[in-house]
Symmetry: C2
Subunit: 231 residues, 2 copies
DNA sequence: TCTTAATTAAAAGTAATACTATCAAAAACG
DNA sequence: CGTTTTTGATAGTATTACTTTTAATTAAGA
């Protein structure tokens, strides 16, 4: 997989894969093709057999990279949040006051959702598919019986790091707000789910499919709960 | 399955089952045993074969009631939200002002989570297991490729109805708030996820496993976004 | 109570999934 | 050029998610 700037590589926890898929041609094909296949079929209907057929390779070759499709999902999940963290760190750098920083961070979270074409980065795979997968499938990455072991292995770290970043900004605005983790994780998940709802269960949402209000709505949901200090 | 008051029956969309599981002994056993098994094993590891073994019956007998384990999950999902709606309607009746009504409704959503033993209702199955399933598995009920067809068939109606109830209360407090559906659905899901996070991914939450702050936190998240009219 | 219809059990079978193992062929690399 | 690494081909296993058929059992109606 490629990266945000051509010189920076998104690192994914090596415990997630058996063999680094970025290290070979087949590995990269596994990533890019499985991404669009999972987007099209959904996790339930996606299988390594179908992927192997599509790639004109064999199941056993794929299993050399990932021990299960669940691990493959974790790979995408971590890649996405690591990439987004990078964008947030860069995009909010030097922004003042903290409320604007928060706004910007939320916009970055909503941005790839809003419009893939805004992306002019050299990413070698379908960012649109990656986002769709994060929206529709990533809850399945942690809503499993094995969650505690996998958490210990650091499989959810990238997402937790993004939450931590936002919490830090929230605490710059209001150091005394006691529920920043709850507020932030609820809103990040909320953003993703609202996008899903807008598409599939519209009565659970007020935004239309292609609207760009989400960032604004969620900025206010957070901001209205904080007592601004200073600025 | 039983009910809140002994005279009232929770109705589940009949398209979800092939044969009403409440109508026979085996059906009721399927419900109560699968409930605890899904709670223990998780959806991924739960199978009709294992259930049949536990019940000393056969797979084909179970398939006469539910065409898949997904439908069984939908059954529990709908039962739960239909039951909760009932509790909300009763529990918030005659409460004034609307802000107190909102508070009460959120408490009802959090209450079974908080403490199963507070329940003194004649429910013939494990409410604790049902709640665990709603928390850990119910996202999987709608994060699927078939969501649009299933939505058309009304499989998510019970949840949507609860959201609608809360939206109505929110609009009593502030008729002009334009994002009530987003706010309410985000918070209801947020409550469930926070409980999961508190248990399994505590760095995404500020509440401890057995705390009862959730209702308060989420009441304020909603309330602070509303401009109170009159009372 | 006898008959009939509905329900469940038993057994077997199918197609697909989620893997694992072995070994040979082909690239790549030093 | 030889060796290590990577891939392909083939096969196999255990389990899942069902379906089908037939026989036995139970319940319900006349």
């Amino acid at each position: 997989m490629s990266d945000l700037l051509s010189s920076i590589k998104i690192e994914v926890n090596p415990l997630i894969y058996l063999k680094d898929p970025e290290s070979s041609d087949l590995g990269r094909k596994i990533l890019s093709t499985s991404l669009t296949m999972i987007d099209e079929l959904g996790m339930e209907h996606f299988t390594f057999r179908k992927l192997a057929k599509e790639l004109k390779t064999t199941e056993s070759s794929i299993y050399r990279y990932f021990e299960s499709k669940h691990k493959l999902l974790l790979y995408f999940y971590n890649w996405y949040w690591a990439w987004l963290e990078y964008k947030i760190v860069f995009g909010t750098n030097n922004i003042e006051p903290s409320s604007s920083k928060l706004k910007k961070a939320i916009e970055i979270i909503c941005q790839p959702i809003k419009n893939e074409k805004a992306e002019r980065e050299n990413i070698s795979f379908s960012l649109r598919s990656l986002i769709n997968i994060v929206i529709s499938e990533s809850s399945k990455a942690y809503l499993i019986k094995e969650v505690d072991e996998e958490n210990k292995a650091g499989f959810f770290l990238a997402f937790k790091t993004v939450v931590k970043r936002l919490v830090k900004i929230v605490h710059e605005i209001d150091p005394n707000y006691p529920h920043a983790h709850t507020l932030v994780s609820t809103c990040i998940e909320g953003i993703l789910h609202q996008y899903y709802f807008a598409r599939h269960l519209p009565s659970l949402s007020d935004v239309s499919k292609d609207s760009d209000q989400l960032a604004d709505i969620f900025f206010h949901i957070i901001y209205n709960n904080l007592k601004q200090q200073g600025k």
